[in-house]
Symmetry: C2
Subunit: 433 residues, 2 copies
């Protein structure tokens, strides 16, 4: 790969780390100005080239990944962590294909969100523009390097990537492919920079660089995210956890309720949009639907922790405690509670949810509308599995993250969520009277 | 006025202030749930009633204002501050009329921003919903109480208002009218709460209440805003300053350039969208346009601080220093600089601007497009005065604030900017494979 050389000099002191971070942020800002003025065609060409680089240099990427895996095994990483870290031909091909898909998406930059002619003749437009510089902080998965870089370049932003130290060689090789793509399209390689130090202080410096970095997205465990939020002076988009719920209404279709509950809990229990608590309307529980769902879950190896009434209806359930309503198990465990009606379900969810994704199963239109209106979460579903809250499923292509905040972007975030707008007015001499 | 009684017990200790803030925030959150589920018609009726209350109780509001003015005079407030504080019949009528206008705006809540049917049949919608609870921190102008309360109620949000201590009686009387309006429409009066302590610690407590308060908007001087940003754990929308620019291109129409420069500087020099620096293309300066604009400004009593070339062309100009390029004068003073071309003007502005509002005067389409594309400010204008960056001029009705941030909202903010969205999916049994 023919790429601009990245800084590789080891840093000597705390002062060095700070100076390095400032230099990196300034380079990103300068690159972002050029990207912001570039055409969508040029940014797309950079991503097509980057996708080809990833494909062509798959052997080098896999060799770099082998170094990380070796070091990870020696450091005693868990098999789950090693699995997240591991790349193979298929995974590299998937990364390249994801970058290519993002290249082919419509350009969000320059889109006119709103426009009108004011009574004084001013032509007023709200025009979508890049945010500027994004900082993405992530843990072990190396594919975040290419996905995040591609979404940022697509939307005209420069990006500073700070990956986990266990994936340092893999991330470097992938970032070089992305930079080679920028270079091939005549765009500045510093639009994609991987932080060249594993010093923990680097993140602290970067998230305080108001005016140079416009947004931080920490992707990882709650500890990582809390640390970023504590230190940040720039906007942070985040989701701490996914304590998702399914509410089975009295008017639910039985078969649909069973299918959705089983899918929401067991199809991939370790991810944030898997369901952790199921609520049953009294009427649904009383007519045997709760027991039917419990049995279907138990058949899939799910441990059930229920309220008093749940345990009367399904005696092998363990007793749920207050703690269970708050817990994101990320495992084959579910909390279960019988509630009076949709209003009681809403009250439970708004009290305990992490505001990620909640679903109702019902044939009753009024119940569905009440649930949709009153639930205060990023994603509210009627008659489908919570597993659908995902950038790919929403048609956004890859996602840069998921937000359970209410600010700027909510739910799965795609390239357009890395933009802001400016107000543009075209006049012919208007002055204010 | 028949209103729910507000807490008036004096607070004894730091612990009391903290407990009071927590109680206020919890009351706001509870009220926001009810407002979030209310109909647009009901919220509009509350504002119509509040507008009537303001009109009917104008004498009581003016009596309260007289108390504040008396205290202000005794405390030695400047005449400018007393003017901002002062209400009269006209000003109260204007407040009532503004609330009424907001009542008549279309309801932003429930608007479907985007919608599609996914290949699996899921009907996916991005639906506009209230943010929840807003905290508005402001200084002397009492009309912010009614404007901010009206915009928050309109958009389904509860609001906590923290006004300046010099306007405490005026704000209380106005807030009571707004609460009476809510009460008349059957909505919770706690959707509008005025902070009942002048203790400075209150703001510090409130801006850390993640999960209860969704947004803080500090409106006032830079010191106030910096203090809020320093302490905040919740999102803050702000603009520190308005260092706005007019760039007169070589291809400018002379008459238009004079009119726009004079209007941008002198029509109301004390406000944030007044222009502080004017840049002239070499070609415009060389053909005498700079001197013509300087003379027109000088005739209006404007002090000119210019670069070397400006002083050659208009010898009575004082010498500008580096500091002048950074200064928001808010006064009849202007900085003036000759630059090579539009690219040089963009470079100057992107380096020194507070990212508020910049205008170009030109007949050249390419220059206009380059300026619009490359300027990184919230409002970018072609051939009109910078004074147009204003919620009223944009047709937003009253504005809740102006943002020079890039996050969530940019430029003048209306009721819709107090909303977020949720993703709603309507299915018929979809599960993920």
């Amino acid at each position: 790969m023919k790429v601009a050389t990245m800084t590789t000099t080891p840093m000597q002191s705390a002062e060095d780390v700070k100076a390095y971070c400032l230099r990196t942020a300034r380079q990103a800002k300068a690159a972002s100005r050029i990207l912001g003025s570039s055409s969508g065609r040029q940014r797309s060409a950079a991503l097509v080239a980057a996708s080809e680089q990833l494909r062509r240099h798959a052997p080098a990427i896999l060799a770099a990944n082998a170094l990380d895996l070796d070091a990870g095994r020696k450091a005693g990483l868990s098999s789950a962590m090693l699995d997240r870290l591991k790349l193979d031909d298929q995974r590299v091909a998937a990364m390249a294909s994801s970058v290519r898909q993002i290249a082919d998406q419509p350009d969000p930059v320059g889109q006119i969100i709103e426009g009108c002619i004011r009574p004084n003749g001013l032509k007023l437009q709200k025009v979508r523009v890049p945010l500027g510089v994004a900082l993405i902080i992530f843990e072990s998965r190396p594919n975040v390097t290419s996905d995040a870089a591609a979404l940022c370049v697509k939307s005209g932003n420069a990006v500073i990537l700070r990956g986990g130290k266990e994936a340092v060689h893999s991330n470097q090789a992938i970032a070089e492919a992305m930079r080679a793509g920028l270079d091939a399209a005549g765009l500045p390689t510093d639009a994609v920079q991987l932080v060249q130090t594993t010093d923990r202080a680097a993140v602290g410096h970067l998230v305080q660089m108001e005016g140079l970095i416009d947004l931080a997205i920490p992707r990882g465990g709650e500890t990582l995210i809390r640390a970023v939020v504590e230190q940040a002076r720039i906007p942070v988009i985040k989701h701490y956890a996914g304590n998702c719920h399914v509410y089975v209404d009295g008017d639910a279709d039985d078969r649909m309720a069973v299918d959705i509950c089983v899918n929401a809990k067991t199809q991939r229990p370790g991810v944030c949009n898997a369901t952790e608590t199921m609520l049953f309307a009294k009427a649904a529980a009383d007519r045997g639907l709760l027991a039917k769902v419990c049995q279907a879950l138990a058949d899939k190896g799910v441990e059930i922790r229920g309220c008093q009434r749940t345990r009367e209806l399904f005696p092998t359930a363990k007793a749920a405690t207050e703690e269970d309503w708050k817990t994101e198990y990320l495992d084959l465990i579910v909390a279960m509670r019988v509630v009076d009606d949709v209003a009681a379900a809403v009250a439970h969810i708004n009290a305990y949810s992490s505001l990620h994704t909640e679903a109702i199963v019902t044939r009753n239109l009024q119940a569905a509308e009440q649930f949709v209106r009153d639930i205060d979460s990023a994603n509210v579903f009627v008659n489908c599995s919570t597993r659908f809250s995902d950038g790919g499923e929403y048609g956004l292509g890859a996602e840069i993250g998921i937000s359970t905040d209410k600010f700027h972007a909510r739910g799965p975030m795609g390239a357009a969520d890395l933009t802001t707008y400016k107000w543009v007015a075209w006049g012919n001499g208007q002055v204010r009277g």
